[in-house]
């Protein structure tokens, strides 16, 4: 992906750009020239210089260990707990594998841990608010949040974690009656500024850089609207010159105006049996394709005379009744009172007729939004509505994906409900008519917020549309913590060496046991406190650590794990790794507290010995693998 940045071609991916930009930057600095295709896992790099990129990722990956150490140290004030957590991460094979290659995950985890670390730090600075370190850690949290969410949308979970923590924080401050309202306001503003505005600005800045760097046309164009495409050098809409007004006989493509809407498309395949009439499918298709071309014809006359060069050009006007003929298959755009395949309340749209002879259901009235009748129709700029004459419905794209028989393209329907939505509006994008002079149009310069919004819509759609390919290793969320199945990264042949992503079983099962143990301990402690048990000072501190610090980490684990159960998209094993970081830290804290509890119960010297031996045993257990 980094190649694209170096070559400056525009592309489309479901993740935000920061991670790829960083990789691209690392590659650029280390002299990688962006020519390697990166087509499938297992290809050899050959002479390409990839060490820089890998080194960059590995460096970020190895930062996780000190981060975990610092976080746990800060939370529990216990050196051994911190060492335990850190050693778990050092000796976990999964983490090592994941951070050795050019992937987004090490970068994501770096920012994520960074955010947690700075959050913990600023919490511990809370005694001296508005001091320099306080400001530093607070704004660093914001920066890291922006980084995390800029790499992958999974970063949202850590934003949620920090958000919840901040709300709790503010709630405590609110209850503190010694603070005046003005101080409270300052606290609130500081947090709003550092944790909301700062990340937003940084995040937007990433996109600004992204768009500024990628200014050449590339493979991802078709996902975006006509206006968006006109920005890209090399796209046929960049510095476009087309006939300005639509005329009969023109060959056009029509693009739906909704965000990430497709081109009006048709192909030889028929609707399957049981789905309306068995006629040719009409869909919306996101890529540029010959099958997107349509010819505008008059509803009553036949085809030939418009192409005749001697005949004068007749322009299409607002309110005209037209026929749209699909160029490849020469069928007419047709609709009738059958249910549409997905949206049952709408009518089905088909391709009908042979060589342009159809019936009265092929007639559409063409209208431009906000114009009077009789005006000409402009390419790109006019927003067109096509009304079906016989039924009065409006051509629209519902945004739903058709099943396999429709090649997973987007459904096109004719909606009987007359509403002003972008779903039902189209614009003409390509326009070919040899008889008309080409006029250069410097029309659509979309503003930055528009581009930003649009690229997000496209990403979200892409994300939810990820479906498993045949024979791909996918897994279910409950597989993950038990280390049920790994993920093959590389190595197609038997002879080749393979890279297999799999966690260290001892570590993982220890983590799993610890989560149960933690819940048990937390419940016991909290019930004991609620029942008014008298605790010594030492125990009080311990339970404080257990409930507050452990609670934060536990919350982090839950937030990074549970949402996956509700996700519809394809899930892979490596999605669990952020949650795994949290559960490793939890392991450190829990065992440390448990052993200290035991030590406290026994006599002093005896207790110390138990504690030391316990710690050593755990360490050895981990190193053993």
């Amino acid at each position: 992906m980094g190649s694209y940045y170096i070559n400056r071609t525009f592309f489309f991916d479901v993740h935000p750009p920061l991670g790829k930009m960083l990789i691209g930057l690392a590659g650029y600095l280390s002299g990688y020239n962006g020519t390697f295709p990166f087509q499938k896992p297992g290809d050899r790099y050959g002479h390409h210089n990839y060490i820089g990129m890998r080194g960059f990722c590995a460096f970020l990956g190895s930062c996780l260990v000190p981060f975990a150490y610092l976080i746990v140290l800060e939370l529990s004030k216990s050196l051994s707990a911190a060492l335990l957590a850190a050693s778990i991460l050092i000796f976990d094979t999964g983490c090592i594998t994941l951070s050795q290659y050019i992937l987004l995950d090490p970068i994501l985890m770096f920012f994520l841990m960074g955010a947690v670390l700075s959050m913990v730090k600023y919490n511990s600075c809370a005694v001296r608010p508005f001091s320099a370190p306080w400001w530093f850690w607070l704004s660093l949290t914001g920066v890291n949040l922006a980084g995390a969410i800029g790499v992958k949308f999974v970063g949202l979970f850590v934003v949620l974690l920090v958000g919840l923590n901040t709300v709790y924080d503010l709630w405590e401050l609110l209850g503190d009656l010694s603070l005046s309202l003005v101080t409270l306001g300052k606290h609130l503003l500081a947090r709003v500024f550092c944790l909301i505005l700062l990340p937003l600005v940084l995040y937007t800045a990433q996109f600004a850089v992204h768009f500024a760097v990628l200014n050449k046309s590339g493979p991802g164009d078709g996902f975006f609207s006509s206006a968006f495409q006109s920005r890209l050098i090399g796209n046929n809409l960049h510095n476009v010159s087309v006939p300005e007004h639509l005329a009969y006989g023109s060959v056009i493509t029509m693009k739906n105006l909704r965000m990430a809407g497709g081109y009006l498309h048709s192909h030889w395949h028929l609707y399957p049996e049981g789905v309306g009439a068995r006629q040719q499918q009409v869909t919306a298709y996101l890529h540029k394709d010959l099958n997107n071309l349509w010819v505008i014809k008059k509803h009553d006359s036949n085809t030939a005379d418009h192409l005749d060069p001697s005949c004068s050009v007749e322009f299409v006007r607002h309110g005209d009744v037209i026929r749209l003929e699909h160029k490849e298959t020469s069928r007419n755009l047709h609709s009738h009172q059958h249910e549409a395949p997905m949206t049952r309340k709408h009518f089905q749209v088909t391709g009908y007729g042979i060589n342009g002879t159809g019936d009265a259901n092929d007639f559409w009235r063409i209208e431009v939004v906000g114009r009077k009748s009789g005006k000409r129709i402009k390419v790109l700029r006019s927003q067109i509505r096509l009304t079906h004459l016989a039924t009065g419905c409006i051509l629209g794209s519902s945004g739903k994906t058709l099943p396999k028989w429709g090649w997973e393209q987007v459904e096109v329907t004719c909606t009987p409900y007359v509403k002003e939505t972008p779903n039902a509006l189209w614009n003409v994008e390509d326009h070919i008519n040899p008889k008309l002079p080409n006029i250069s149009l410097d029309v659509l310069k979309p503003s930055f917020p528009e581009i930003l919004l649009e690229s997000h819509m496209v990403m979200i759609r892409g994300n939810s549309g990820l479906k498993p390919k045949e024979n791909e290793v996918t897994s279910k969320p409950w597989h993950w913590p038990i280390n049920y199945q790994g993920l093959r990264f590389s190595g197609v042949n038997e002879t080749d060496y393979r890279v297999y992503l799999l966690g260290n079983p001892v570590v993982w099962w220890l983590n799993l046991v610890t989560i149960g143990l933690y819940l048990l301990m937390a419940t016991c402690t909290i019930v004991a406190i609620k029942r008014g048990a008298q605790l010594t000072v030492e125990f009080k501190e311990l339970s404080e650590v257990l409930l507050h610090s452990g609670g934060k980490i536990m919350l982090g684990w839950l937030l990074h794990y549970l949402p996956f159960f509700m996700m519809g998209r394809v899930l892979y094993f490596h999605h669990y790794f952020p949650a795994m970081l949290f559960s490793s830290m939890l392991t450190g804290i829990t065992w440390d507290t448990l052993l200290k509890f035991c030590a406290g119960c026994l006599s002093c010297s005896m207790g110390k010995r138990v504690y030391t031996y316990g710690m050593l045993a755990l360490m050895l257990l981990i190193v053993y693998r």
Binding site: L177, R344, Y417, V527, K530, M566, G568
Partner: protein
Amino acid sequence: MLGFLKQPVVVTAEINMNLVALTVMGLVNRLWALSYPRAVVFDEVYYGQFVSLYMKRIFFVDDSGPPFGHMLLAFGGYLGGFDGNFLWNRIGAEYSMNVPVWSLRLLPALTGALCVPLAYQILVELHFSHCAAFGAALLILFENSLITQSRLMLLESVLIFFILLAILSYLKFYNLQKCSPFTAGWWFWLLLTGVACSCAVGVKYMGLFTYMLLLAIAGVHSWHLIGDQTLSNVSVLCHLLARGLALVVVPVAMYLSFFYVHLTVLYRSGPHDQIMTSAFQASLEGGLARITQGQPLEVAYGSQITLRNVLGKPVPCWLHSHKNTYPIRYENGRGSSHQQQVTCYPFKDVNNWWIVKDPGMQQLVVSNPPRPVRHGHIVQLVHGITTRYLNTHDVAAPLSPHSQEISCYIDYNISMPAQNLWRVEIVNRESDTDVWKTILSEVRFVHVNTSAVLKLSGASLPEWGYRQLEIIGEKLSKGHHQSMLWNVEEHRYGKSQEQKEREVELHSPTQADISKNLSFMARFTELQWKILTLKNEDTEHKYSSSPLDWITMDTNIAYWFHPISGAQIHLIGNILTWASANVATLVYVCLFLWYLLRRRRKICDIPEDAWRLWVSAGGLCVGGWAVNYLPFFMMEKTLFLYHYLPALTFQILLIPVVLQHLTDHLCRSQLPKNMFSALMVAWFSSIYLVYRTFSPLTYGEPTLSAAELRSLRWKDSWDILIRKH
């Protein structure tokens, strides 16, 4: 001796006339002209078929929910003497004379009517004034959508009834908690909470949401109890155990009992048998049980068997082979072995018969005494009609090129030897020497040479394979997926050595006698699992809607339409009530946040009691609304407006809560109070007016003219059927 006679026997009855009046009004309003229209209305077509099946005692599986709701409807049919003979095929079809429409619709209508006094009671138990409670009941009474839903043979009103009942009994229980724990009344209401919860869940899985809410509320209350230091540890434990018993154990037991009744009542085989495993089918009367009765239990060498795939998806099917061979080349240019096809065939056929053969012997009959096949034994499977051996080899399967092709071996003399030895692995064995049993054993066939496993791939073959399902040899046999498991369904001991005789034998039906009984728990687990996992084709309905449309009621559902007169029934709510409910929710949330923040700063706008009331009532109503509404955003199934009704009920209960709070705490002086009351009267009358206006669409009569209908279309998105003349 007769001392007690000295005192007169006195019965003191205290009757709350409000309640009586509300109940009567509710009954009138819900039961009026109940048997009109005498035609199938909307989802009656769906529930009706299950009622019929209950009447005929035929087993069925319904993926929409647990059986208690269907059972209640069927109970109505039973009381009315319904014989189940009606073809539920079309909405709008006239009922024949044998269908007791009135009694079928009676139960939902009764429960719907009882919701009115329940609402009243709930608000009273929440310590609100009788006036507010009366208002809440009236709002429920005049809610058109609730009326429509309860006047038909549908389940929502039953669900709402049980939900409200659970809430009410929990509140009663909680109020008794302070003064007299562990008395009879306390136990009664506590247990009733559990029972009502399980009934709600038993009617529809939506009931789970309210159940969870109640559990959460009970959890919070128990937490306070734990913190109560005046109680001893033992009594706290008793309290917790009592709650655990009533709110967890009792509902689970009740839920199981629904299934027990369901399975006991439905003992005949029916249309959905195929979904279930052979063992389950064998427990039903007729159908498979008739065939399998008296089969030999243990599979022996020489046994003639049919093998059914355990998975049952996409369709249940049997291992099958026929004379036709795989095409030499597939459409994509890959080659095949050109040997005889092996498929999975979803219908009973003589070609589904296979014979278990000992590789060491030639004979295809069962010796005397029979030598049973055990776990780990190596067998050959001979196709009964063609006498070819089941075989697999290193050739790619037709549709799944990463797996091996399975064929029946034909020797073409082209140095492709037969590889037809299979090891029998009984997956659900108890010991390693278990015998392979008919129906009960789930078996994997592992190929001896290549260790591939016989598996149903789920894809269906193209035209040359007659669209039957593909069978493959899976090389990477990780896990125990059900598509690799097979069980013997039909079975008999082969007697004829000659091919001709054997063919006759294969065509003849099996006979003999042993009956198999599956334990209730096994049947329950299987049925429950099927209900949860069975997915109907995701069909979008004309009247389906998205949750966002519900709040503002942007959509309605046309339930029924008289083809001649044009009379129609719609699920359409009282728009004024819906709007007020939304406003009330909004006001509640804003005020709640305001109070909360202010209290944190130790500024108390309202007294402590009022605050506690405000939190508990709001937690119940807003919480009930949220848990019954928000989860729908994450559901992918087809949703309808009626899914919103339980949430709406909670939202309606919130209106009087907010109103009373406003009058009590915000209108301090007399004048605004009077104005407020006047406003209330006006508001209630307009709600009544809206109810009257839309009642023709609720009750289906009187018939309205086109112009009147058009004037009722208050929102453009409402789909009111106006006939063109």
